[in-house]
């Protein structure tokens, strides 16, 4: 029981200290999980992170679940996941309650209209980063273009897009392997 509480506490602390999750969390994980508690080696941590990127869901949560599972099996996995989401729940719920009361103020509207422009830039940068790491060849450009057109002009569910593109990727790769 103490071990589970410790897993919860350590990941809640890391969750409360990282902005943005994902790879911004790696240095903190390395310091606490690898150096201080010695729950995994650095190589294992990088492996867990790489695998989590390939899985559905939130990368940071997937990573800590793998660490928690290595420590204490399924209960460890749950303790780690709950620890990771705990700070988000508390902080976001408090902010949401407050913002609702402030939204009517004109100053706040101006502020959020400015923030919208910043968010636009962040989302564009995220798309560019994904493009450079994920679109490698002509087929990739085609998949991107077709997906963008289909998603912009028809109200397709993103779920269908995810499934269809994954299946297309498998078929194209397998055909390439058999012909070469």
């Amino acid at each position: 029981m103490y071990d589970l509480a410790e897993l919860f506490y350590v990941f809640a602390k890391i969750g409360a200290l990282t902005f943005g999750g994902g790879y911004t969390m790696l240095p903190l994980l390395q310091k606490d999980i690898v150096q201080k508690y010695k729950w995994t080696t650095y190589e294992e941590l990088i492996d867990y992170y790489a695998i989590s990127q390939c899985l559905p869901g939130i990368i940071a949560v997937n990573t800590v679940m793998l660490i928690g599972h290595k420590q204490k099996g399924v209960p460890g996995l749950l303790a780690a996941a709950l620890g990771m989401i705990f700070p988000s729940l508390v902080i976001i719920l408090i902010i949401s309650v407050f913002i609702e009361n402030f939204m009517q103020l004109e100053v706040v509207t101006h502020g959020f209209n400015g923030i919208q422009v910043a968010v636009l830039t962040l989302v564009i940068n995220a798309a560019i980063k994904m493009w450079t790491s994920g679109v490698k060849d002509k087929i990739g450009i085609w998949i991107f273009t077709i997906s963008l057109a289909v998603f912009s002009f028809f109200s397709f569910s993103p779920i269908i897009m995810v499934v269809v593109s994954a299946v297309c990727g498998i078929i194209i790769k397998e055909r390439k392997n058999t012909t070469s």
Binding site: L77, Q116, P158, I159, V162, K173
Partner: protein
């Protein structure tokens, strides 16, 4: 009075079920981290009256400026808009529920998961499509943040369609975020809020 409360409670429980179902699906199908859940939340904005697309932009700003994984913060935020504090908790738990089962399965085949050719093939197709989903979300935000479609549709004057103050800030931010990529986005968000207040966006 009692009847009213009872009905409200039933209404809430239905929202909780819908939230759980929708966020479970998001947890199961969103791949790529960070803003990967955004296209799914856009779909929810259109499907339910829980929150608008414009409110989603504010949620992104809050999620990027507060600690914790962005996807988790977005779920808590969106869940709260739909069903209060209970809604925020349920949406967040639903989001991570599929991962719990997936991880329990993956640890059994961990060693050769990433090298598996089916997994690599799937990602070969997935990555460009997910990039397109995020790009399409960016176009949606551009329409709300930079353009002024309501004013344009009443005046019919193309010059009214663009909010120039916002456009200038946008160009400055594109330059600044790429030039100073080591500065955390929370500072750009804060600075933009100040600019918005001073120049009355």
């Amino acid at each position: 009075m009692w009847n009213y409360h009872k009905r409200k409670e039933e209404h809430n429980i239905m929202i909780y079920w819908q939230l759980f179902y929708e966020f479970f699906k998001i947890g199961l199908f969103s791949i790529g981290g960070g803003l990967a859940t955004l296209p799914f939340l856009y779909e929810l904005a259109d499907k339910y009256s829980w929150f608008s697309r414009e409110m989603l932009i504010n949620m992104i700003a809050i999620s990027e400026s507060t600690p914790g994984p962005i996807g988790v913060n977005m779920a808590t935020n969106a869940g709260y808009s739909a069903g209060g504090i209970g809604g925020g908790i349920i949406a967040t738990l639903a989001l991570i529920t599929p991962s719990i089962f997936i991880i329990m399965f993956i640890v059994k085949i961990l060693d050769n998961f990433k090298e598996n050719h089916f997994v690599q093939g799937a990602f070969y197709g997935l990555r460009p499509a997910v990039t397109a989903l995020i790009a399409s979300a960016a176009i949606g935000i551009f329409k709300i943040a930079i353009l002024n479609m309501p004013l344009y549709s009443t005046t019919g004057n193309l010059m009214d369609a663009i909010q120039y103050k916002q456009l200038i800030l946008f160009f400055l931010l594109v330059f600044a975020t790429n030039k100073f990529s080591n500065i955390h986005s929370v500072y750009f968000i804060g600075a933009s809020a100040v600019v918005g207040v001073i120049f009355k966006f």
